[in-house]
């Protein structure tokens, strides 16, 4: 039983969800908004991992599960694989996607309002930097939920410094 939805619907849904949590529900508390968005992503990742591991044999170790996330899981979600995977062999993995789909259409230019004073420019830049961060909380939640469902407790954070390329740092809890 498969239903299909156009990708722009998913993009709009995510954008609206982030905007609702940041601007209306938790307007002055970005940490709470971030953790709620992360929790939504967690449940989505949890359910998706159940679906995408259906036909596969079981994973033998953490590296197998991370490779599953990089290849199959990412292909199902974004139609491409993770471009680069690095590890320090001590429980930290860095997944790098050179063109992360959900932020690829975001405008990254903070100076949209013509000439601003120095103070306003900084505030505008901070606000513009926050928006992709909030979207990335959702993606981190998705990865965390998927890994938790596979039995791997971990913490996931995103590094948005070179958008649209995005790195996710996964730290496995011992």
């Amino acid at each position: 039983m498969g239903w299909e939805v156009s990708e722009s619907c998913v993009d709009s849904l995510l954008t609206e969800m982030v905007s609702m949590y940041c601007n209306r529900l938790y307007a002055n508390k970005p940490e709470l908004a971030a953790s709620r968005i992360d929790a939504i992503g967690y449940q989505v990742g949890h359910q998706l991992s159940e679906r995408y591991t259906m036909e596969r044999p079981r994973f033998t170790d953490h590296l197998d599960a991370i490779k599953f996330i990089c290849k199959d899981f990412w292909s199902e979600l974004f139609k491409k694989q993770i471009d680069n995977l690095k590890t320090n062999h001590r429980g930290t993995f860095v997944l790098q996607d050179n063109r992360f789909r959900w932020v690829s259409r975001m405008s990254l230019d903070p100076s949209e309002n013509g000439d601003l004073s120095q103070e306003n420019a900084e505030a505008a830049e901070n606000k513009a930097a926050q928006e992709p961060n909030m979207h990335l909380h959702f993606s981190c939640g998705v990865i965390k939920g998927a890994l938790h469902n596979l039995g791997i407790a971990c913490a996931v954070s995103a590094d948005p410094s070179h958008l649209p390329a995005c790195s996710f740092v996964v730290r496995i809890k011992p």
Partner: protein, 143 residues
Amino acid sequence: MIVCVAVVGHQNNPLYIQSFTDADDSLKLRHIVHCSLDVVDERVNNPKKSGPTLNETFLGLLYPTENYKVYGYLTNTKVKFILVTTDLDVKDADVRNFFRRFHAAYVDAISNPFHEPGKKITSKTFAERVSTIVKSFGMSSTR
């Protein structure tokens, strides 16, 4: 004839248990399902005994009791499906097929946004799909 199917979560919490015979047996069936969880754990944690089938989802015949055969299936997310049947000549392929369809129904039930992970599955659609799969299992093996 299948008498009971059960879905057990990764902390050995029951998520769905359904018996297809009279209610008198249901306690005994629950007991059988409970005992089979130990066998599943043993199979998974003893790689030397299992040999090449360590990573398969289908665990095969867990143990035969006096009247029943118990089959197990372990998913990647440590969710166990247990099947109790009274058939004496069940084909392996039939059971695998059953578990494949059951897994598909389970995944669809889990993807319901109103379902809370870890709680029991209360979806009627899932119950109907399971009874359809159970009925068609009975038919395909009475050739």
